[in-house]
């Protein structure tokens, strides 16, 4: 694999590296992080994406890049509307998997004595684990269809949260153009019992605090100060999203043949953005994205009430406000500057976060001067970060940044190396109280399965695509 160093934080895979590449590949990384990139098939996946029709500028990868299926995880690619494609494999099964961060009026010292109760109460209140169900009783199919169209505002109308929450959610918690008629009955069925549930895998709820403040002016606009206690929720569109992706990969495999698109990997099945098949997928994907926002909105509401209950204070005193909610598995039609001209492109972010700069029209009024909060959760032992997007991200990465730390070890390796260890005690020794539905699930997510998120965020800072605002430290974690 030929990787050409462009700067200390940017490497290029030349267009000549593989037959059929239409643009070069570019990976934001460092000498240190590059060692793990070379060990898996993710650079090959960057090259495969570079072969897809209508790709613009580069096939990009963020510093948390690792081996996915189809696109690499950490992959970003934009396609022209006229002759470019849209690919369910470029979004992933967990459509609009994302993170939301809430702040509170409380400090670490105020919460620490109640932590065990807080974590147990959250664990009991929010259904988690494999096939978790039942946070909302008796959701009807008609209600589900409405929430697929309306997104997070449906939840607010039903009493789960406030209108202010919507302002601090990417796209207001609703992608337009969602059409439930394009979602299969199987996907609708899978979605019915799962609104307000965490799921399993790498999904989590985390109580954390602000450990370091890098840019106090921006941090204070986000309601974040030294030792402020926060809560993060990481989840997505659950079974509904998985089913939408699976349904459309089959449909778009046939479409790829019809439109004569050669695929290096069938997982990259795609269709022209403007074709019937491409439009149908986008309409169904928007439904799944809206479902995911409702899911996180409902969980946040339950978390607020639970947290306030344990602390014995009214919601107003707890001040658990949404700092921001980002989605990191998505395809969107956005306006970007290409060759000096403003054009609409279909941006795929597969394990990548939108990172728009200050002044961007998509930002809420109170964040217009700060830039969009970019939430970068790390592993459950080390740190997570709140950054903001920059003009440079807009120019270089279609306004995108990393979505996490990025895995380095496989799940089977982690389970093997965890044998004979008390993982809960190990985490406790690191100052993190953990509750998990499954021991193997916990083993797979132990901190050493991941890169150090500090290194990932450092690459983005040095490359100029995000600016660090605060660093968070976990104290309590719930794993599905």
């Amino acid at each position: 694999m030929e990787l050409v160093k462009i700067t200390d934080y940017l490497w290029e895979i030349p267009q000549s590296a593989k037959d059929g590449m239409l643009v070069p590949g570019r990976i934001y990384t460092s000498e240190q992080l590059l060692k793990s990139v070379g060990q898996d098939k993710s650079p090959e996946q960057v090259m495969n994406v570079a072969c897809l029709p209508g790709i613009v500028k580069y096939s990009l990868a963020m510093p948390d890049i690792h081996w996915g299926y189809g696109f690499p995880i950490g992959g970003v690619a934009a396609f022209r509307i006229e002759d470019g494609i849209i690919s369910p494999g470029g979004v992933g099964y967990d459509i609009n998997c994302g993170v939301r961060l809430m702040r509170t009026n409380l400090t670490l010292d105020e919460v620490r004595p109640h932590l065990t109760k807080v974590i147990s109460a959250l664990y009991n209140a929010i259904p988690s684990g494999v096939g978790s169900a039942g946070a909302i009783a008796k959701l009807s199919s008609a209600d589900e269809e409405r929430l697929l169209v309306e997104g997070a505002s449906w939840a607010v109308k039903k009493g789960y949260g406030t209108k202010q929450d919507l302002l601090h959610t990417e796209d207001g918690g609703c992608l337009p153009g969602a059409d439930p008629a394009k979602v299969s009955p199987e996907a609708i069925k899978r979605g019915l019992p799962q609104v307000g549930t965490l799921g399993s895998g790498n999904h989590f709820i985390e109580v954390c605090y602000v450990e370091t403040v890098y840019r106090p002016d921006i941090a204070s606009k986000f309601g974040l100060r030294q030792n402020t206690v926060c809560l993060q929720i990481h989840s997505g569109s659950r079974g509904l999203g998985y089913q939408v992706c699976d349904d459309y990969i089959h449909k778009l495999l046939r479409a790829s043949e019809r439109y004569g698109i050669k695929l290096a990997d069938r997982q990259l099945a795609c269709a022209p953005v403007g074709s019937d098949e491409g439009r149908d997928y986008l309409a169904a994907m928007n439904c799944a994205a809206n479902y995911a926002w409702v899911n996180r909105q409902v969980m946040m509401h339950i978390a607020r009430e639970t947290f306030a209950g344990v602390m014995g204070m009214p919601l107003s005193e707890l001040g658990m406000e949404l700092v921001y909610d980002v989605c990191h598995n998505i395809a969107k039609i956005e306006e970007h500057t290409v060759d000096g001209k403003k054009v609409k492109v279909c941006v795929h972010r597969k394990g990548a976060t939108r990172a728009f700069p200050a002044g961007h029209p998509a930002l809420p009024a109170d964040y217009k001067e700060t830039g969009q909060p970019v939430l970068v959760p790390g592993d459950m032992g080390r740190n997570s970060f709140v950054c903001v997007g920059t003009e440079r991200a807009m120019a270089e990465t279609f306004g995108s940044a990393a979505h996490g730390a990025g895995r380095v070890a496989s799940r089977s390796q982690m389970i093997k190396s965890s044998r004979g260890r008390n993982l809960f005690k190990e985490m406790e020794a690191r100052g993190v109280l953990v509750m998990a539905k499954s021991r193997d699930g916990l083993a797979e997510e132990m901190p050493d399965a991941y890169k150090d998120v500090n290194n990932v965020v450092d690459v983005m800072e040095q490359a100029g695509i995000t600016k660090m605002v605060v660093r968070l430290k976990p104290i309590g974690v719930i794993k599905g």
């Binding site: 494999v130 399993s200 089913q243 069938r266 496989s410 799940r411």
Partner: protein
């Protein structure tokens, strides 16, 4: 790349984010049986799943890889949509039709999930097409499949 050998019927491949498996068998029917076994062995404790109910499955695909993905996807949907855990698989036929498509007929057995007896170990979100391969070897057939988890 092989990191563990929990069952002779399949083995894990090192995949950074998800679960990759390699399956081998002397015949294509055996290969499909072993792959189905792997799917449910990863998802649940198979010894606790009784063959109380049976189901006939018929599928058609353009090639053998799509047939394998379709087969595993169909079985996974029995679990995710109907709550049916499957433990026994009998491949009745895998053959090419006149239109060059490949047809599969099978009977599978299992029972509806009962939380008092069954244990779910892992949520498999989907059977991906990534790196999906079925190859003919001297001693039989081999396939690799990546599950999204």
């Amino acid at each position: 790349m092989v990191t563990a050998k929990p069952q002779r019927r399949y083995e894990f491949l090192a995949h950074t984010a998800d679960i990759g498996i390699r399956v081998r068998a002397r015949s294509l029917k055996g290969l499909f049986t072993n792959a189905a076994f792997a799917l449910f062995d990863i998802s649940t404790v198979l010894g606790r799943v009784r063959p109380a109910r049976s189901l006939r499955i018929e599928l058609t695909a353009l090639d053998i890889e799509e047939l394998l993905q379709g087969w595993l996807g169909r079985l996974l949907s029995e679990w995710t949509l109907n709550g049916l855990l499957l433990s026994n698989f009998q491949l009745l036929s895998i053959k090419k039709g006149l239109n060059n498509k490949i047809h599969l007929t099978a009977r599978v057995w299992g029972e509806v999930f009962d939380k008092t007896r069954h244990k779910i170990k892992k949520e498999i979100k989907a059977v991906t097409f990534h790196d999906l391969k079925v190859t003919k070897k001297k001693e039989g057939f081999e396939a690799s499949v990546v599950f999204d988890v």
